[in-house]
């Protein structure tokens, strides 16, 4: 910085130009800029005009004034005026005249100023203002950094400057104080608030009913009907038994071993001792598994699959497909399992109908699957999975073959597995009220969920499936996929073709009952028997190009037959297990035409 250029001429009058220079300062600054400055050095550099004190006190003065550079300062002058501006330079050699940049007269001490009453702020600031030494009375600067912690380095200064800039920016200089802030005082008529703690405790017996209050205050009538959102439990004479059954099954299911991370966590089993499982793996709903190869979609009807949001279900689908062979793998499923079991079979009238409904006139055995599933419950998961794997493909094949109707959905179901298994499962299923709902209905729609994969070894498969369901589709699917073929597709699977003749599903009135109706199971199912043939018509819009879109596909038919709601709910809490939304096939999507009354809440 070369201050010598600054007005050498001295002007003697007016406020306009006052001159001061900092020649000496410039020199000393050069020295200073080398990094360290100390009194001795300054002294030794030898000020040009030596008669002005070279002593340490002078050096300090110079040092301090140098620190002021760039700082906003106020300069008081002899006549009482105050100039505010950015300190630019001072003549340390001579009279300490000061140069300010962008200076404004903030207080006019002159007679002229006081009389005129001009708004001081409205004067344009002078770009450069020179105040002669003799005018200068004092300089006030606030917040001057006089010392530093250490030798300045770039970063530090950058930071420092950034901070300055930021704070400058954040200072909203033009914000006027809008008004005096006053503390809020509650109005007289404000309702006394109940203590906050109480509000959230014991909602059932706190003394305040929000609905009543609303009604009273605003005349808002609640139109909430719980039955719209949940299935009504039929509490008949056999309620207790059903409940017991349900509890038992629930306990069995929950007590199962599982390899699935999510399920395990839910059940409190600490699966993975190694900590590589990061949060994403644990809690993400993205299905990732080693065996699952996304590219496996290729064989399947990509478009169809993709149309169904492959990104959400993606892998799931693949796995589902794979698993379709397997007994409905559970997508999570307790529900699935239950349903499997419930689908007992056709042999039983109601169940059978379910099973049949499920899809095939043939021997579906969802029931089988279910049964096996149930039976398999006790089996260790890994084994089951393996077996499932093996089975899955076969089953898939079978399933595919069986699906004569050309309705893929059906295929899933078909699998005449051991009827006896079914029987047992059936029995089990029958009873559960809610699980039952799941079960019986589930059975029937088990396929829907899981793809009623038919696993010949139902037990194994089921179990595996169930277990695998842990991750929803993943385990089994991955298993399935990885086991026999690289691709998760079943080469023998019939491609899903839209059946233009497919009739829309119109559920009969009775089926439109919530799954809880299962209690009346047998009778209930019977009504559906006739409906079975309808199955094939599930609309293709399922978009499951893949024959094994199964679970989804199956789902529908069954829905059609069974209380469709079952299908609907499978995803839901009925299964007592959180079903990953994505694992649940797009059921809502599938049912546009199947006037799924259940949906019309």
């Amino acid at each position: 910085m070369n201050l010598q250029q600054v007005g050498q001429a001295r002007s003697s009058n007016g406020y306009g130009r006052r001159k001061s220079e900092r020649e000496g300062a410039a020199k000393s600054e050069n020295k200073i800029s080398s990094g360290k400055s100390n009194a001795n050095r300054l002294a030794s550099t030898g000020m040009v005009t030596g008669n002005i004190g070279d002593g340490p006190s002078h050096d300090r003065l110079v040092y301090v004034t140098t620190c002021l550079i760039g700082q906003q300062v106020e300069v008081h002058v002899k006549n009482g005026s105050i100039y505010s501006g950015i300190f630019h330079a001072t003549n340390t050699e001579k009279d300490f005249g000061i140069i300010l940049k962008m200076a404004r007269l903030t207080k006019d001490g002159s007679l002229r100023g006081q009389k005129s009453g001009i708004e001081l702020g409205s004067k344009a600031p002078s770009k450069t203002l020179i105040i002669p030494g003799k005018e200068f009375v004092q300089v006030i600067a606030k917040g001057v950094a006089v010392t530093r912690d250490g030798p300045p380095n770039e970063a530090h200064h950058e930071l420092y400057q950034d901070i300055i800039v930021d704070s400058v920016i954040s200072q909203s200089r033009h914000v006027d104080l809008e008004r005096e802030l006053q503390p809020w005082v509650p109005a007289e008529d404000d309702p006394q608030c109940p203590e906050l703690e109480n509000i959230f405790d014991e909602t059932w017996n706190r003394g305040w009913d929000q609905f009543e209050t609303n009604k009273a205050l605003f005349g808002v009538k609640s139109t909430f009907n719980e039955e719209l959102y949940t299935t009504k439990l039929e509490k008949g004479p056999q309620t207790r038994e059903f409940e017991k059954q349900a509890l038992r099954i629930a306990r069995e299911i929950e007590g199962e071993d599982t390899q699935d991370l999510h399920l395990a966590e839910e059940r409190g089993l600490y699966l993975n001792k190694n900590f590589d499982i990061d949060e994403e793996t644990r809690y993400s709903s993205v299905y990732r598994d080693k065996g699952v190869d996304d590219s496996g979609y290729d064989e399947f009807d990509d478009t169809l699959l993709n149309s169904h949001n492959s990104e959400t279900f993606g892998d799931t689908f693949a796995s589902i497909v794979m698993r379709s062979g397997e007994s409905s793998d559970g997508k999570d499923d307790d529900g699935v399992r239950k349903s499997n079991s419930s689908s007992k079979d056709f042999p039983q009238s109601s169940q059978a109908s379910d099973g049949v409904d499920l899809g095939r006139a043939g021997s579906h055995n969802l029931a089988n699957e279910l049964v096996s599933e149930l039976a398999a419950k006790s089996e260790p998961t890994p084994d089951a999975e393996c077996r499932v794997q093996g089975n899955s493909f076969t089953e898939l094949h079978e399933a595919i073959d069986r699906s004569k109707e050309g309705n893929r959905i059906e295929s899933e179901e078909v699998q005449p597995s051991k009827s006896k298994d079914l029987q047992s499962s059936h029995n089990l299923k029958k009873d559960e009220p809610n699980t039952g709902a799941l079960s019986s209905n589930a059975v029937s729609h088990a396929p829907s969920f899981h793809t009623s994969s038919k696993t010949p070894e139902k037990t194994d498969c089921v179990k595996g499936v169930a277990a695998s369901s842990g991750r929803g589709l993943s385990p089994s699917s991955s298993v399935g996929s990885s086991s026999s073929e690289k691709s998760t597709l079943n080469p023998n699977a019939k491609e899903f073709r839209l059946n233009p003749n497919a009739k829309s599903f119109v559920p009969s009135q009775s089926p439109v009952r919530p799954p809880s109706q299962v209690l009346d199971g047998s009778s209930y199912y019977q009504t559906n028997v006739t409906a079975v043939p309808h199955m094939p018509t599930l609309p293709m819009e399922l978009g499951m190009g893949h024959p094994f879109a199964g679970p989804h596909v199956l789902y529908n038919p069954q829905v059609a037959q069974m209380s469709s709601q079952m299908y609907f709910h499978p995803n839901g809490p009925q299964y007592g297990q959180p079903v990953h939304p994505r694992q649940v096939p797009y059921m809502p999507g599938y049912l546009p035409e199947t006037t799924y009354k259940g949906l019309d809440y």
């Binding site: 400055s37 002005i52 004190g53 140098t66 550079i69 906003q72 950015i86 004067k123 917040g143 420092y160």
Partner: protein, 181 residues
């Protein structure tokens, strides 16, 4: 000179003084240095810990009276005194830029009311001064006395908008003024 030689030792570095100036200021400060050659007393006020101080450079001939309060240690730690010219200059640049930007916002020769209106408008609209005329969005001009009627130029829609904002701001200003009083 109000200072006499005997008082000089009282102006030693680190002394705490209470000073009265010839123009009526009174304050307490700590001496950083006193430069006899220029008669400037460099003081540090309200020393809070940290590198930031309030500095006052006072010509001693304006000191009417002072009282010695005590002695403290040197406020300037010689080991810690570094000057980075480049950063100082940079700081100055920044400050100048900021000041220039601020200066742009201030109308020259306008009343404080006008300035308030300008400031209020600038919160939501791009405004600049053109002598004493507020130019909004480069098209609409609001001249003295800055009433809704004084709005001109630009599209009718823009004018309407400016008028609305102007009215609101005026109301707010009035409300504020009345509440302050």
């Amino acid at each position: 000179m109000a200072m006499s030689g005997s008082n000089l030792q009282d102006l030693a570095v680190g002394c705490l003084l209470s000073i009265k100036t010839t123009f009526g200021d009174e304050f307490e400060a700590q001496v950083i240095t006193f430069d006899r050659s220029s008669d400037i007393l460099v003081l540090q006020e309200s020393s809070k810990p940290g590198p930031h101080r309030n500095i006052r450079m006072l010509k001693v001939n304006y000191v009417k009276d002072f009282t010695y309060l005590g002695q403290a240690e040197d406020p300037l730690d010689p080991k810690n005194c570094f000057l980075d010219l480049s950063s100082l200059q940079a700081r100055e640049e920044v400050a100048i830029r900021q000041a220039e930007a601020d200066a742009e916002r201030i109308g020259v020769g306008v009343t404080s009311e006008a300035q308030s209106i300008f400031d209020a408008l600038s919160k939501t609209l791009p405004v600049r001064w053109d002598k004493t005329v507020i130019v909004v969005m480069n098209e609409v001009r609001v001249s003295s006395p800055y009433l809704p009627e004084s709005v001109s130029g630009g599209t009718p829609a823009a004018r309407e908008r400016v008028k609305k904002v102007l009215e609101l701001e005026r109301k707010r200003l009035q409300h504020r003024r009345s509440s302050v009083q």
